[in-house]
Each structure stands twice: as structure tokens, then as C-alpha cells.
Symmetry: C2
Subunit: 353 residues, 2 copies
């Protein structure tokens, strides 16, 4: 499967997911870390054992109606751009994108573009459910169903601790429930460190756009649980949801305050970003995301023309470096990407203007 | 006469003046300095004598068919905004704008908005002909006709030196022939000092947008003769015209080179300026002129949508501080002006997009 085919695979979250906190919560994600008892953990697994594990996981998926329309991919045999596209879609992790051709690594994507199961990541199985908008509970319910599909492989499970995982931070439920939040007003108010402290006290954390250790692009932050042990899955999802609502309210209040305090200068800021996206002929990924963040605020606050979330998600996603190259059908230099990106943005912004 | 009436007076140069070097030569101007023999020079004139001189000049104009539809104004009795508007239109000098209410100062504007005659400026009479585009010879011919109208007042004239003037640099023909040139490529190449030196050797000079000692706005420079003595008027106009063609050619060559060398980044520069003018909600006079300069280049090079010179002149003129206030019908704070200016630009740019 090449870049253009990967591009055309369904992706649920791109559709937007209307409802509560639209525009503020971009995606909801639930991830379960699972290991198969009769295989060594990923750090110690041999390529032959890894190969066997991929086979078993693919077979398990094949037996379930949940994966009737699924696509099963071998990341170790995939070209770089295709892997990059999957990473930018948040369907595989950074480590999986950097997959070595010596180690068999698999990916199962369900037919709706909601579920992705990574095989031979840090854990044997990383079950991920990704939905557009604020829908953590729904994502959790789907994850439970997917979990049952692979349980037949025989999970490494301890009656006292729960699921055993490669990294001790995942032991227990193996659950990470996270939301992608758009927090430009909090970011520019310089309160993110404060928010992080507050979250840590609750057993939560705030991370960059592409997860742990990643940078923040376009004021997109991942809020997720840190503790996986000693709490029920539903409680974890509920806690993340509750804090999400608090943070979103704070963000909205800060946007309103900025608008009141800065007046016309605030409108100017929003409209100039619109003008840049509409007319730039060369634009870096970083600047594009910054400007997209600004126009998202303008749309949310009904100052700029409305940008539906499906359109905005598409703009954010398709202007990423690997997506730009996948659309062009070839590798592009950074300079070429900046030109392609600007051209793509212009064509879309013209439709919105 | 108040600001809104001054605003609605005809102004020939605003129409653009199509023809040779359109876009590069914004206006052509001829000015004759004249003094009336029986009055002391302006530095020594009393308010009573000045009053008499204004009357005489107004009467002389009334007797000529050239000034049949003329407007005769007393600058010393005029409000600040109206005077500012006349200054921004280049119909009166900086000193005349700053007119003291104690000293009678007159202005005669012909019905076509081509001729303006200042009474009691540095010289008793400053006859000015201002045309849109590159039309120095035409301006000179009109100036000669206007000169005949006021000759009946008895000019201070010396058979050896010619016309006598307040400042020795104007003795002789009393002529200044100048063109307003748009030179953004030469400006950004840093060759203006070199150009000035070259011009000085030829008896010419390069000045800021509003003449001697003024700053440069939007890369608009005045090229004019420095020497008024010992040369015929036609020769002076011819010399200024010849150097204008040379400078304009150099400017065009530099624009083409920049386009070749900078490629997409150059297009980006042009289109982003367009976007700013189209969408900004707050814009200073300085930034507006900078961006208008950039989109002028884009239009001249047929990269951006065409901006006809009459439209561009209007944008440049009506975004000036006094014009903005005249349009608003009241004094505005600098902050209010920046908002009004942006609003005006948006409405006009929308028509062009």
C-alpha cells in the first residue's frame, strides 16, 4: 500500500464529531496497552517471534465482525511517506513510524477509520480508538469491544496488578484516555505550566501535539491520565472528561477577556491570519498551524466566517509534511512543500471566503 | 469651505494619467516661483500688504478664462483638517498647511483640479501645475499660460538674472519641474544614495514624498531640477524627463531581477501584502503605504490583479491622516484613524479581488 492509498483510507476524527465543546476538543482517544503472555516483551522479542505475533493478531482480527472491512498493514515493509501519513493521522506512534525493516510490525485499521491496533510497539498490542470531538466514553466502549477480540491470544495479566506492560506506568488498566485540546488563549496567557501542575495533582498530564515529549503545534495539547493503576477505566475516562470541561471553560473565558481587552487589535489579529492563509504563496508547516489556530478561534467566536470542523481538520492534517508529499505523489524538498502547502491552503480558503 | 467640500474638489492627478511609464511615474509637477515687484518679499511683508496681495491675485485670476470655475480659498481662515487635505493632495506646501491665522494666505484652484496658485508662500506666488502620469511638457505649457495671467501684477524681474525669488536657488526661471516616482526595487536594493549622487551631478535632486526634507512613504520619491538659473525652461523639463526615463528603466530591470532571483518568495511577498490590505482591521498610515507600494509592483508586473492608477491613487490619498478624518467628518485619534483606514482599504480591495 502506497501513500495515495493510505491517504484515501477512512479516518473518523477528520469528520469533526459535532457536539459538546466543538472546536475546543479536536479528538478523543482511548488506548489500551496489552501483551500476550507466551511471548517475551517487545524489548526482548526476536524478529521470528514478532513475526508470529503479527500473524496471530491479524488472524484474531480476521475472526471478528468488528474488523470485517479492516486493512492489515506491515509497517516494516512500508515506504516512509506512507508511515509518515499514518503518524500524522495519529494512527501510529512516533516509534512505529520509525519502524526498522528488521523487525516485523503490524497495523490493523478497522473499516470506519476509528480503530487502529499496533502490533509490536512498546507493548505487543496497542489498541487505539480515535474519535472526532469530545467523545471519550464512546471511545472507551469501542475499546472494550476491540479488547475482547484480542483477549483470545492470552493476555499477560496479574490478578493483583491487572494487565502487565512493558513500562510500569501502564500496568493495571493499560489505559490512556486523552483528548486533543485547542488552547491558544491559555497558551498566550502563559498559564500552561500552571495547568500542567494542576493536572499532575489530579493524576493527569498535558503533552504536545504528537504525545509524550513532542512539541506543541498550533496550540494543540493532549490532556490525558498519567495513572493507570488502582482506578477503574470508567473513572479514568470520567476524570479526564471532567478536567477537559474545566480547561475548555477556562479557555473560553480567556478568549472572551482577550476580545474585550484588545478590541479591534484582536479582530485585526484574526483577520490578518485569514489573509495569510488565503493569499500566501510560501508557508511553513509551523506558520500554517499557527494561522490555522488563530482562524479556528475566529470561527469559534463567530467573528470570522465559519470553518466547519471537518474542513479545519482537513486543513490541519493535509498541510502536514508527509500529507503534502503524499498528495503530490512524490518526495518534496522543504521549500517545495512550503509552496504546495500554500497552494492547497489558498484553494480551500477561497471556498470559505 | 470645510473638509468634506475640499475632499470633493476635482483633482486631476488622482485620475491617473495613462500613458508612458504608468505606475512608475505617479505625477508630473511644474512650479513657478514669482514675486510682485511693488511688495516686499514674503519674509518682510506685513499682514496688510499680504492681504492686499491676496486680493490682487484673486482679482487677476477672476479676469482670466483659465480660472472661470476656480475656487479661491483663504488658508488663514481654514480649519486644520481642510488644510491637511490640501497638503496631502500636494496642492499646498507644508508651510502653507501650517499657515498662521495672523498672515493672509490665499490659494486659487482652477476648475479642473490641475492648477493651484499659492499666494504669500515663500514667494508671493507659487504657480503649480500637477498632472497624473508622466506629462512634464504638458504641465509646463499650462504653467506658461497661468504665468501670463499673473504677469499683469508686475513681476520682480531682472534682465540679467531673470525672475527674482525669496531663496536664491529659485532665481532665474523660478522653475521646479518634478516627477513623483515609485521606486521600491531601487529602494530595497539600497541604491538611492548612488542615484542621488548621479542626479546631483546633472543638476537634479531626489527628495521625499512631500518634498524637501520630508520622509519617504511607500517608496515614492520626487525627482526634480536643482538649478533654475542659466537654462531654458524647456531644457530643464527635458532633462528631468530624460533622467526619469533612465531611472524608471533601472527600476523595471531591478524588479525583473528580483522576480527571477527570489522566485516564489517574491510572489509570496506580493500576495501577502494584498491579503493584509484586504483583511486588516487596524493599519497605520506607514504600513498601508508600504503595502500599497508592494501591490503596485504586483499590478505593474501583472502578477496581482490589475489596480488601475486612478484606484491606486485614491487608495494612497484617502488613507492619509487628514483625508481619513475628512471622510469621517470629524477629528479622529491615531487609533481611530487606523481602524477607519483599514475599513476603507478592505472595502476597496474587495472590489479589486
Amino acid at each position: 500500500m502506497g501513500p495515495s492509498q493510505v491517504l484515501s483510507l477512512p479516518l473518523e476524527w477528520k469528520g469533526g464529531g459535532f457536539g459538546e465543546l466543538t472546536g475546543l476538543v479536536v479528538t478523543s482517544r482511548v488506548r489500551l496497552a496489552r501483551n500476550v503472555a507466551r511471548f517475551p516483551f517487545s524489548v526482548a522479542i526476536s524478529p521470528e517471534e514478532a513475526e508470529k505475533l503479527v500473524e496471530l493478531a491479524f488472524e484474531a482480527a480476521s475472526r471478528s465482525p468488528l474488523f470485517r472491512e479492516a486493512v492489515k498493514l506491515r509497517l516494516d515493509r512500508m515506504d516512509e511517506i506512507s508511515r509518515g501519513v499514518l503518524f500524522e493521522r495519529h494512527q501510529i506512534s512516533f516509534d512505529m513510524m520509525r519502524a526498522s525493516p528488521q523487525m516485523p510490525r503490524g497495523l490493523i485499521l478497522d473499516g470506519s477509520g476509528t480503530v487502529s491496533v499496533m502490533v509490536n510497539e512498546e507493548d505487543h498490542l496497542r489498541i487505539q480508538v480515535l474519535l472526532g470531538g469530545f467523545r471519550l466514553r464512546e471511545a472507551l466502549d469501542i475499546a472494550f469491544k476491540v479488547d475482547e477480540v484480542f483477549e483470545a491470544l492470552g493476555y499477560a495479566f496479574d490478578d493483583e496488578f491487572g494487565h502487565l506492560t512493558s513500562c510500569p506506568t501502564n500496568v493495571g488498566t493499560g489505559l490512556r484516555a486523552s483528548v486533543m485540546l485547542h488552547l491558544p488563549a491559555m497558551q498566550s496567557s502563559g498559564v500552561m505550566d500552571e495547568l500542567l501542575k494542576h493536572c499532575n495533582q489530579l493524576g493527569l498530564t498535558v503533552r504536545g501535539t504528537y504525545g509524550e515529549g513532542s512539541a506543541v503545534f498550533g496550540a494543540l495539547y493532549q490532556l490525558s491520565n498519567q495513572v493507570t493503576l488502582g482506578r477503574k477505566e470508567e473513572e479514568i475516562a470520567e476524570l479526564v472528561s471532567r478536567v477537559t470541561r474545566e480547561v475548555a471553560e477556562e479557555e473560553i473565558a480567556r478568549r472572551d477577556r482577550t476580545r474585550r481587552e484588545r478590541g479591534k487589535a484582536f479582530l485585526d489579529h484574526l483577520w490578518r491570519a485569514w489573509g495569510t492563509l488565503r493569499y500566501a504563496q510560501v508557508i511553513t508547516s509551523k506558520e500554517a498551524l499557527e494561522k490555522l489556530s488563530v482562524v479556528r478561534v475566529g470561527s469559534d467566536m463567530r467573528i470570522l466566517p465559519e470553518i466547519p470542523m471537518n474542513m479545519w481538520n482537513e486543513l490541519v492534517l493535509l498541510t502536514q509534511p508527509y500529507h503534502i508529499q503524499a498528495m503530490a505523489g512524490r518526495e518534496l524538498s522543504p521549500e517545495e512543500r512550503d509552496v504546495h502547502r500554500a497552494s492547497f491552503l489558498r484553494s480551500k480558503m477561497e471556498l470559505l471566503s
